[in-house]
């Protein structure tokens, strides 16, 4: 009895210090778990979320003489899709955009990003044109204003022209159902 007491004469310090490695291990585990669950490191958070669309004045793809600004798109919540004929993923998401426009009646505007307008018109003639209109961003300057770093990218914009969601990469049915559609429904309820 007295020996036991002696063995643990300074229990506070020694016992607690046994748990330091465990603590360090758990900390490292937490960091790694957080790091590996970040998902796609290419998906940057958009700095433009809840910011108005940047100002622009660009020609319309099918009417090169008509110059439009972002106001031409306002009125109800809409999608703004950055696309190009050189972008295979754009081709892959094209049918989904057509479906969304047909089934949900949401206006989709296009930004024809760093592309050849004649080829772009041919491309739309061949695969269908889900866009109300596309503007021609020949040198990618609107793209930079929008923080675009690759096509396709899709913005969900509210009736006043404020960006509410940004999707980098193709919009497929899963992305539409889980991300874009709920926000669109919210925006429509609010207005």
């Amino acid at each position: 009895m007295s020996e036991q007491h002696a063995a643990t004469a300074r229990p506070g310090i020694h016992r607690a210090s046994l748990f330091i490695p465990l603590g360090v291990f758990l900390l490292v585990l937490l960091l790694l778990w957080r790091g590996f669950s970040l998902g796609d490191p290419h998906a940057l958070p958009s700095a433009l979320l809840n910011q108005p669309l940047p100002e622009f004045a660009l020609p319309v793809l099918h009417e090169p003489d008509r110059i439009v600004s972002s106001e031409a798109m306002h009125g109800e919540p809409f999608l703004l899709n950055v696309w190009a004929t050189w972008c295979p993923t754009c081709r892959a998401e094209h049918a989904e955009l057509a479906r969304i426009s047909r089934e949900y009646g949401v206006p989709i505007f296009g930004i024809n990003y760093k592309d050849n307008p004649a080829e772009a018109r041919r491309w739309l003639a061949r695969f269908g044109n889900p866009y109300v209109f596309s503007v021609v961003d020949a040198d990618g300057s609107l793209g930079i204003d929008l923080g675009v770093y690759g096509a396709p990218e899709t913005f969900l914009v509210d009736a006043e022209g404020v960006i509410r969601y940004k999707r980098v990469g193709a919009v497929d049915q899963r992305v539409w159902d889980t991300k874009l559609a709920p926000i669109l429904a919210e925006l429509r309820d609010a207005s």
Partner: protein
């Protein structure tokens, strides 16, 4: 193929490759002053290509990096300050684009964390040294009354345990 010939073919291939890589990334930027050019170079070195995670604007051949180099060049020519250019790009691409992150609430852990860890380590070392010194300093007179009593008891026990045993050689 003889080794020499193989070597020559390899060297030729590498030279062609290097030539190709250079040719594809050369863009000419002209500036009115040396100072503008220097700023352009410095900005390209510290801005990160949004498409390629671990390369600055200079290091990247991605189309977006080329566009951003052109944007930076234009803004430098138009007389914007370095900070204005950084702010513009951050407002478009977020903090990601800065290789030299700003000090904000979000990045505080990044800036302060290493120093916290350093001081924690130094503290632990200081504590260990102090403990060691104290133990080294301890003499017979430094025991507490309890320890003295325990020592006496243990000595008594030892004696009792070994009294009947013949001493080992």
């Amino acid at each position: 193929m003889r080794p020499e010939v193989l070597l020559r073919v390899l060297v030729l291939g590498l030279a062609l490759l290097a030539g190709h890589a250079q040719a594809s990334s050369i863009d000419v930027y002209e500036f009115a002053t040396r100072e503008q050019e220097a700023r352009f170079h410095a900005l390209n070195a510290e801005l990160r290509c949004p498409k390629c995670l671990n390369t600055n604007l200079w290091g990247s051949d991605a189309p977006i990096a080329r566009d951003l180099r052109r944007t930076v060049a234009n803004m430098v020519r138009e007389g914007h300050s370095d900070q204005e250019i950084r702010d513009y790009l951050v407002s478009r691409y977020g903090d990601f684009i800065l290789y030299n992150p700003r000090f904000t609430a979000k990045t505080a852990a990044l800036w302060v964390g290493p120093f916290l860890l350093l001081f924690l380590g130094l503290g632990i070392i200081a504590l260990m040294i102090r403990n060691q010194r104290r133990e080294a300093r301890l003499g017979p007179g430094d025991l507490t009354a309890d320890d003295e009593a325990r020592l006496a008891r243990l000595r008594g026990q030892l004696e009792a345990d070994t009294s009947g045993v013949p001493p080992r050689s």
